[in-house]
């Protein structure tokens, strides 16, 4: 069964709502929010071993909200989110992490950050060798290895 089917419609709505609160869309940075349909689909498709804790987090969120999160007014929604973030424990931390790990691999987001849209392998990256004359003061200072008897 896909994670999509393991979350109820209400849970998916709440996940989308809390994701938008974590990372909202920004015109200034030209990025979508974490409630974006593509990012949400990535989250649901890759929940895998995190499904149980994410469901627990969404259950907790539902208890705090007492109704669909998106239906709350802004003040009440912020209060629920703060409580969730503060006391949600491992389940809440897992939910936030899966939102962020999918958000920060989205092409649009990486492009906005100036990062390349590729896996590290096989091209890797180039690292400046640096100015090794920086070591000269270390070489010039006295200091010896502690001797053993």
């Amino acid at each position: 069964m896909s994670a999509d089917n393991q979350l109820t419609r209400v849970q998916r709505d709440d996940l989308r709502a809390i994701a938008a609160m974590i990372v909202p869309a920004s015109d200034a940075y030209e990025v979508p929010g974490a409630d974006d349909a593509v990012i949400q689909a990535d989250i649901l498709a890759t929940l895998g071993r995190d499904t149980k804790l994410v469901v627990a987090a969404l259950d907790h969120l539902a208890r705090l909200a007492g109704q669909p999160l998106a239906g709350l007014d802004v003040v009440r929604r912020d209060a629920v989110a703060q409580e969730f973030r503060k006391h949600g424990g491992a389940a809440a931390a897992t939910l936030v992490r899966v939102v962020l790990q999918c958000y920060y691999r989205d092409d649009r987001v990486l492009r906005s950050l100036g990062l390349e849209l590729r896996a590290p392998f096989p091209n890797g990256y180039v690292l400046p060798d640096g100015d090794w004359s920086l070591l000269d003061p270390v070489k010039a200072r006295s200091g010896t290895l502690r001797r053993a008897p």
Binding site: D50, P128, G130, L135, V138, R146, A148
Partner: protein, 532 residues
Amino acid sequence: MKDPVDVLIIGAGASGAAMAWSLAETKMHILCLEQGGWMNPAEYPSTGRDWEAKFYGEWATSPNIRGRPEDYPINDDNSPIKVVNYNAVGGSTVMYTAHWPRLHPSDFKVKTLDGVADDWPIDYDALTPFFEENDRMMGTSGLSGDPLSPLTHPPMPQQPMGLTGAIFGKAMNKLGWHWWPSDTTVATTDYEGRARCINLGHCTPACAQGAKSSTDITYWPHAVRAGVELRTHCRVREITTDESGMATGVVYYDKDGVEQFQPAHVVIIACNGVGTPRLLLNSKSNRFPNGLANSSGLVGKNLMFHPYAQIYGYVKEPTDSNRAPPTCLWSKEWYDTDLSRGFVRGYGVQFVRGAGPVFEAVVSEQKGILPWGEDHHRIFRKLNGHRLGFSAICEDLPEEHNQVTLDPVLKDSHGIPAPKIDYTISENSRKMMEHALNRGREVLEMAGATDICVNSPIPWGGWHLLGTARMGTDPSRSVVNEWGRTHDVKNLFIVDGSIFVTSGGVNPTSTIQALALYIADQMKQRLANLFD
């Protein structure tokens, strides 16, 4: 019944591989049983766009999170530091930072020099040729001549300094403190069939390029070509003994889960500081009711972890982030005892280059420095790619209450009792960690860092598993003698981190492997009277 082998090695990681390769020249029939399998670099995280997400699942450092069939569970609830390891051909060298310092000569004489713990029964000089041999086999890079470290001769030049290294170097120079490019097992040139490093990023969870040395691509190909038999997906349950108290072989589960008995004339354990005591304690018999080789009662005791005190911050200029091996420099400024600091012994420092975007977002959100909502994007851009890390690796002194026992309830997939860890950080270590954090803060502030955060200890930082079958000349105070043979069973040897007497303040793998090569050499010299 299977034919007996001359030598049976349990574990194909850092020490088991070195031992197998060294003994191969004897032309004895050598068999190694490994609970994991061969790795496939094509499946390593850096080959995919989801490389960071994998660190939270199938490539987590903790076997409890990772939960691969090759892993066994560890009850570390009663420890502020959680055990991390890897189970495969190559063992935890598949998943390590490749930071490659050695123990210092003074580390072998802590009782004499500082009046704490015990001296080792061997000294640094005894290991010197084996350090050198191991560095050639593993393929090290570095810059010879560090005035505060033992002299090494890395066959490859040091890693590039990079952006992060330069920032740290300047800050350390302003403070007048020691720093030096780290010796590493990352190939900086093509070396012995390994391609040079191309900076895939955080290479801790295995290197797809093969630039990071792990024993599956260094020692094992040589050992297998020399005739050593390596049997994978075989988990050893217990070592058996006869009425005279000699080891007769092992009981293990093969790749199909079928129980097997493999007779052997010599048994060598290479399962490191948690796996080795677990196996010994599970090898009870009428003759050895408290576990094998445990007449001293010290099997599983004196567990040393190296508590890590980590402090990090963010500078305005870009750092190397995930675009380089994680560590680049070390410092030994605070390595040796200075009682004016309020503690005995000391710590090494690893300077850390940075983090990838997912890791940065997740950790910074947890630390409370990355907000939810409107300001998330602005703050994230200030943090991402701007991190500097300072990690102190604190010498952990042996204490018997820090221990590995068998969990009465938790078992692995074969029904073998899981190890249980009971561990507390000592007052001496806490003072050392506090000192390190203060020095780290000075360095970061000198570099211009803000938003400084602390992980002390690093909770998932139990990389170094040491001391649980310690070496010594007194059978009442140690488990193995000065050449790795157990005091109680004359054809049973231990060659991994569990035989460390003290831990030093550096990553131990180089010393573990040098010890394994030293013990192999001792065995080869004594073949005619190995059991006397």
